[in-house]
């Protein structure tokens, strides 16, 4: 791989007057033990838009995404410095109630990870823990979230069946439904379609596009066509730095940085 300078970067500024920023990071560093995985990333994420994080394996995009709702807290020896601004609060500070924060910043993982419970119980798991009760309320919640995740028609007659009996794509949409059942502001997705076949991938993509007008979506993807298809903004990660952040059409058609151009045209990655 060619060496690209980390100083050679282009980060588009989003003017707060024209763009409502949902969450942003300022000089975010992530350390695993002594090694630094993310070298100071500052990015804004606009509300009700899809932002794609692309880059080669090991470029730090998943690590960055996992810091946004502090899932890296659970890994021993991980340290995150810098600011994560959400509603004018730095949620990367000690006094933040992490459990409350994660209710507003939901996450869907690379591998579909439904609980070995029924479909119904998977969706009501988090709401029930948060004091949502009453059969009617929960029934309605299950129906609306499954509809939003485009899964309702396929499972409405078998809500009691085990979530593990679903296909991979259905499981992943169930995980999306489970995440939006908490009505989060922001949805983080870590390569949600990488374990799925093309047809399931396209249904998941359609689901995300349909969810866009209600949620701010940040998605890590290996698949550049996917990023081009669904995202409004794209950030290109390289070795723990963001080298380019811009509107998706610019990143793919008129990249300003050589590294980005080489990556999106398939010269490395």
């Amino acid at each position: 791989m060619q060496n690209y300078s980390a100083d050679d970067k282009f980060i588009r500024e989003l003017d707060p007057k024209d763009h409502e920023i949902s969450i942003s990071t300022e000089d975010l560093h992530v350390f695993y033990g002594d090694s630094e995985a993310i070298h100071g990333v500052s990015l804004p994420f606009e509300r009700f838009k899809i932002t794609a994080l692309i880059g080669a394996s090991g470029s730090g995009k998943s690590t960055y995404l996992r810091s946004l709702n502090r899932m890296n807290d659970n890994i021993d020896g991980t340290r995150v410095t810098g600011k994560i601004m959400y509603r004018d609060l730095d949620i990367n500070s000690q006094n933040i109630n992490v459990y409350e924060m994660r209710k507003h910043i939901g996450m869907v993982f690379q591998r579909p990870n439904p609980f070995s419970k029924s479909i119904y119980d998977n969706i009501t798991f988090a709401p029930k823990r948060n004091g949502v009760h009453g059969k009617e309320t929960l029934d309605e919640l299950v129906e609306t979230t499954l509809k939003q995740a485009a899964l309702w028609d396929q499972v409405k007659d078998g809500l009691g069946q085990s979530a593990l009996s679903l296909s991979g794509g259905q499981q992943q949409r169930l995980c999306i439904a489970r995440a939006i059942a908490m009505k989060p502001d922001i949805l983080l997705l870590d390569e949600p379609a990488s374990a799925l076949d093309p047809i399931s991938t396209s249904t998941v993509e359609d689901t995300l596009l349909a969810l866009k007008d209600r949620y701010t979506i940040i998605i890590v993807t290996h698949n550049m066509q996917q990023a081009a298809r669904i995202s409004d903004y794209t950030a290109f990660f390289h070795l723990g730095n963001v080298l380019e952040f811009d509107e998706t059409s610019n990143v793919f058609q008129r990249p300003k940085i050589t590294a980005t151009e080489d990556y999106v045209s398939g010269r490395f990655g």
Partner: protein, 306 residues
């Protein structure tokens, strides 16, 4: 025309011969083990069933009568072999010690896997392994010199009895149940925990609703394993239970278990006599119970796999 490769395909080589040898050796070893197990079963069964067939003891009487004096006969002329006191004693200490040990073991396992894996691994793991290695006579001796006086002072009576046996067995099965519970919790995939945490669940909610729920079959196996160990333990229990073949009136009156009567009586009977056969019947009962425990474990393991 002569074809070397064709010839070699039809001949036996060193590789095929050594494979055959290996297969014969492992088959022989397996066969010997199976044979030993079958012979033990046959021997214990033939001796144990003699009580019912040669000495004409009614099976129901054996299980439900409470007078144990197999050397002498009752008014019908059959030996007085009522094993109920021992059956109650055995099940009593087993169930009670499992009931006390389970919460401790699961709490310890949760601490070791979920709350403080580092300390758990460095301190608790070696401690647990050490506890497993202590010989049962040492446990019995400690029970005799510490637990029995403690029970006597606190609850009255002689101190010997089911309660003292329960305390000793509790400590003995705790490490077994703990280390198996740890294995069960570690087997819960990490992405289950992450899924739950990412939904805003607290650590306790994650442990209680997700980790423990999906580890339930493994935890049940751990408890049953502990119970089967408690059920079969002889020496330590015998030292603290009082060894009175009477129906226990309470937890602090001297009692006995199947194993303690066996260890006490086996040297004092003549092979082939009714008294000796009656002891074999107790052994058969023990064997059948451990079979039941094993079947239970298998059944749970199968259910957990689905």
């Amino acid at each position: 025309m002569h074809d070397d490769i064709k010839d070699s395909l039809l001949k036996k080589s060193r590789a095929t011969r050594s494979e055959q040898r290996g297969r014969i050796i492992s088959l022989t070893c397996t066969a010997i083990i199976v044979l030993i197990v079958v012979s033990i079963f046959y021997f214990v069964a033939s001796k144990g069933l003699a009580t019912f067939f040669s000495n004409k003891v009614n099976v129901w009487d054996f299980l439900s009568k409470s007078i144990w004096n197999p050397g002498s006969t009752d008014s019908h002329g059959s030996p007085q072999a009522g094993a109920l006191p021992m059956i109650i004693g055995s099940f009593g200490v087993t169930l009670l010690s499992a009931i006390i040990a389970t919460p401790f073991a699961i709490a310890t396992a949760i601490f070791m896997t979920e709350i403080s894996p580092n300390k758990g691994y460095k301190i608790l793991q070696p401690v647990t392994e050490l506890l497993v290695g202590i010989p049962s006579v040492v446990y019995g001796f400690i029970g005799l010199s510490v637990v029995v006086p403690f029970v006597r002072h606190t609850f009255g009576g002689t101190g010997f009895g089911i309660l003292a046996g329960t305390f000793v067995l509790f400590v003995m099965i705790l490490p077994t149940v703990t280390s198996m519970s740890v294995d069960a919790l570690r087997a819960v995939p990490r992405y289950y925990r992450e899924a739950s945490l990412a939904l805003g669940a607290t650590r306790w909610q994650t442990i209680y609703k997700v980790v423990l729920r999906s580890a339930t079959p493994g935890l049940a196996t751990a408890v049953i394993f502990g119970m089967s160990r408690a059920f079969g333990e002889a020496l330590a229990v015998q030292m603290v239970i009082g060894n009175a073949v009477l129906l226990p009136h309470n937890l602090i009156s001297p009692a006995s278990t199947l194993t303690s009567v066996l260890t006490m009586g086996m040297g004092n009977t003549v092979m082939g006599s009714a008294a000796n056969n009656a002891l074999w019947s107790l052994a058969l009962l023990l064997l059948l119970m451990s079979l039941v425990f094993n079947l239970l474990i298998n059944k749970i393991a199968k259910r957990g796999r689905i």
